[in-house]
Symmetry: C2
Subunit: 343 residues, 2 copies
């Protein structure tokens, strides 16, 4: 199309353990005309998320694996620059869709495009607090975790894209909330901006289990699990009877080469009648309206804040992705892949 070129990131090889730059390849490709029902989108922002690590493996899962030599996929925000016949979107529209990792995308229904209103919030927030990570926080806390106002909540990766929203949703409903994060800077942000009750810098704690116990003298009602390993064991040890564990992710394990042992105290789930439940946000889109209403209120009241770490340029997308597993980014990791306005 119009001699446009698009740069995109391909999966060059499947990671074995921690991904490296060698698993990714920058390619320059031509840009086709949008066909009937399709829209050509200039991407502005793209998201990197931990779940993408799973799709880099060749295994059966709830989403098909990425293919070698093909562009990766993921959430992105872009602006329509050309619309095919019968397309539901017009030139100039901002779309949230699933064809990230590229500068230009030909978006059809399979990319699940949704129009976003740039007047409501900076468009990239639809990849974070107002998007899938935010909805993940909402679903995990209220639906899976069955959180009730006034309960005690523990969140791991608490300053992350999901965790920070969990903290503030819980706080808005009178929770006693404790978060763990990997730096003093993150802990300070959690205390001062997200206004949680206690923050644990797990990298400084010699005994995470003791720290969690000290933070919850009466026990935990809901644990929001993003990390796995010692965090999960500590949570199980200190859950109250009938406690709920919302299993959102276990980022510690995503790059394991061999299976890691599970929590050595899972037997306590019997005696304490605990419920551990995993979930995938895409099974809970019925919660979207309730989530948006809740977030709208909290943002308007100044009770919902978040941090972003921005990587500049499509060529930095692998760096952005790798940062997720190093705890280097703060808040939502985003890649700016194009100008704010394309038309």
């Amino acid at each position: 199309m119009r001699n446009l070129k698009s740069r995109e990131i391909h999966l060059k090889s499947r990671p074995h353990g921690m991904p490296t730059h060698a698993n990714f390849e920058l390619a320059e490709v031509g840009v086709p005309e949008p066909k009937e029902g399709e829209a050509l989108v200039r991407n502005i922002w793209m998201s990197v998320d931990p779940y993408m690590r799973g799709r880099m493996m060749d295994r059966q899962s709830y989403v098909p694996p990425f293919q070698i030599g093909e562009p990766l996929q993921g959430g992105a925000i872009g602006q329509v620059v050309a619309a095919g016949k019968g397309a539901k979107f017009a030139v100039g529209d901002y779309l949230n869709h699933m064809l990230g990792w590229r500068e230009y995308a030909v978006v059809g229904p399979a990319a699940m495009p949704q129009k976003v209103d740039p007047k409501l919030a900076p468009v990239q927030s639809f990849l974070g607090a107002l998007g899938m990570p935010g909805l993940t926080a909402y679903v995990g806390l209220f639906k899976i975790g069955a959180f009730k106002p006034g309960e005690t909540v523990f969140v791991s990766a608490a300053s992350g894209a999901v965790g920070a929203i969990v903290c503030q949703l819980a706080k808005a409903h009178d929770a006693y909330i404790v978060g763990s994060a990997g730096s003093d800077e993150k802990c300070q942000w959690l205390l001062k901006e997200a206004k949680i009750d206690k923050a644990i810098n797990y990298k400084k704690e010699k005994d995470l289990n003791a720290a969690v116990g000290a933070a919850f003298p009466k026990g935990i009602d809901v644990y929001f699990e993003n990390v796995g390993g010692a965090h999960l064991e500590a949570a199980i040890n200190h859950m109250k009877i009938f406690g709920r564990l919302a299993l959102c992710g276990m980022i510690e394990q995503y790059n394991n080469i061999a299976p890691a042992p599970g929590p050595n105290n899972l037997i306590m789930a019997v005696g304490k009648s605990l419920r551990l439940e995993g979930f995938i946000v895409s099974n809970h889109f019925d919660q979207l309206t309730a989530f948006q209403n809740e977030m709208g209120k909290l943002i308007a009241a100044g009770k919902m804040k978040w941090k972003e770490t921005v990587f500049d340029g499509i060529e930095k997308a692998p760096d952005a992705f790798l940062s997720l597993f190093k705890g280097e980014n703060f808040g939502k990791a985003l890649v700016k892949v194009g100008p704010d306005k394309a038309v």
Copy 2:
């Protein structure tokens, strides 16, 4: 009372790892008169159950620990031989109560006595299929496991006091049901008497995970967990999306000296949206009437069978208890501690 003597089993020392006879002591004690509101009961049957191992440890739990030098406790069936003033039970009544491990018991409200009708079923079945193990099966399958007619069900320790009831409850509601047990004899009973679809002798399988996978080509909807370890890992591997795991017990772990690693595939709970939920039957007595109605129908229709392994005499109670951890007993383990009729 009347110069009666009662023999009872005391906890002599707390087991470290697998219990031995050295942890138990047979004592002969006098029998006091029942006071106001109490009944003196001659025990006929007593139950041994895996959960009792937990009470032998000195730890905080949902039930207080047994005390050294004191008689053990547990479900028992006996007949009232004397009633104190204002007692709710009359001489000759058969009672299901919590003061087992002794020949005579002075039963007050704390022992949670319930009258049983010997015309309904052999009285000892109120310690098994019609009692706590049966209710455990019912609650775990229908309430915690949220089993729906026609689903696929996997049960470990399937010929045991709880497992055998799970199998037949599920079968009565059109389940495809597979059970694992530790001998060919138990597997044959499961196939021929409990009429399950497939039985796995886990002691003969070199690869339990492969055997479970082969038995469930379309996956497992509900796993009823009695065992832990390799059984739990195999179940998680083969659960369907939205599968439920009812965590009733993990008998493999009860005698561990050090914490054992948990399932190394718990991360799959996220991708498959699995729910693992522990439960204690005593939190679900609201299900008792529904359970009794269901069992009454199935017994009348000849669709509910169970096995008992009987140890004769109170002095054999430690043997009966130890048998639970060796897989030596078949079905419900019971101790006959007195004559069928005491008055």
